[in-house]
Symmetry: C2
Subunit: 231 residues, 2 copies
Amino acid sequence: MAEPSTRTVSRALDLLAAVCDAGDVSLADAARRTELNSSTALRLLRTLEGAGFVRRDDDGVYRPGLRIVQLGAQALSAESLVSLAEAPLRRLVEATGESCYLSVPHLQGTRGEHGIYLAMEEGTHSIRHTSWVGRTVPLEGTAVGAALRGDVPDAGPEAGYVVAGDVVESDVTAIAAPVRVPAADREGRIVAALSVVAPSYRMDETTVTACGRLLAEEARSILHAVETADS
Amino acid sequence: MAEPSTRTVSRALDLLAAVCDAGDVSLADAARRTELNSSTALRLLRTLEGAGFVRRDDDGVYRPGLRIVQLGAQALSAESLVSLAEAPLRRLVEATGESCYLSVPHLQGTRGEHGIYLAMEEGTHSIRHTSWVGRTVPLEGTAVGAALRGDVPDAGPEAGYVVAGDVVESDVTAIAAPVRVPAADREGRIVAALSVVAPSYRMDETTVTACGRLLAEEARSILHAVETADS
DNA sequence: AAATCGCGTTTCAATAAGTGAAACGCACTC
DNA sequence: GAGTGCGTTTCACTTATTGAAACGCGATTT
């Protein structure tokens, strides 16, 4: 927030982000997280509450309100990156049989960065499991995190993807590839990651390699789609 | 916005909603929708843009930014209503084989109200189709809309649900039931709708009735879950 | 070609909108 | 009982915010 901006609004948006990141937060904690005087925070949170962006139940704790859910869901459905990734995700599921995901970087206030899942397609083997949209994933120790950080080999047999035993779920192998969009430098800018997650017993070395290469290929297909749309 | 609030923040949130509702909007149109002076709107939109809530491409049009997508997705995954509806949605799919949805009311500025889909479970028959999360549905002429408006028989053979040939998609039958939470009156307050959508050729009268009753029952199970959590 | 219209952007005087320190009551802990 | 932290209210102060006006530009109309 180094650019000229409307200070009051910036403060309110910081509070909104703090509530969403924390999931539930007291007034005092919200004020601390945003380094605001508590009466200022109270006033701004009351405005956010009145507009439905946060809610406050009888326990006095602030939580995200339906308005951010509504607008976020609406924006998610209109998000071009999600649309562009849909066909690649589906192709990946057809080719691998495993569940595949699109994730993007997610700033989380002062608590470092995470990734966040925006879309998924379920694998053909899978027992049904809960929706991953909106879940966050650490940038350290995960394949998705490494892809989002750009910590990916760019030459050799594993070029374009990264493999990890996922720290979030054990006995699971995750493979991820960064999705780039055109930028000033030749490499492009990483805006998302495609990933495949499967139980390790199904992922021998040959399968991992094949999956990884598919991922890298589909990530490039998204870049191509962006470049085509731009010209 | 009749309560004491921070005017500047309220204005910025109105602009954010206008951008999300419109999908793409010029500065002049955003200012008109929110009845703000254009230099005020420019300044507030610049703040929203700086914080990532809206973005402005070379065409000068404002669109939702990644930040609202991120926070919205995060809030969606934490939303208790979505969690509570997950098992009922899955049971409905198992019992009917059709795709099932959770939707909530969605205020859309001065343009009347819509519903918005927050969750779905795909049916077992279905050809894969695109994600419905975030899509809006008119309140008039649809089963979901009627359920969200409470325009549902509360006695008789069709108590608790409503059936419509869906105006959004033809040759489709939609059945919906309102989800209520405890409120001061005995009826409770409608906060969401469960719906089943299927091609009409699969929905004879007996099937419709069975589906409808299941929907009403599952809607009641959510109410029970809420009441249990509150006590 | 000239006039008109609408758009987006910048500037600045005016003011009222927003702020934070202080006070207070309450609950909890030692 | 004393201390601590929380949430809420109050109010004097000031600065953050505002909108009218000006301007350049492109598109449309006369």
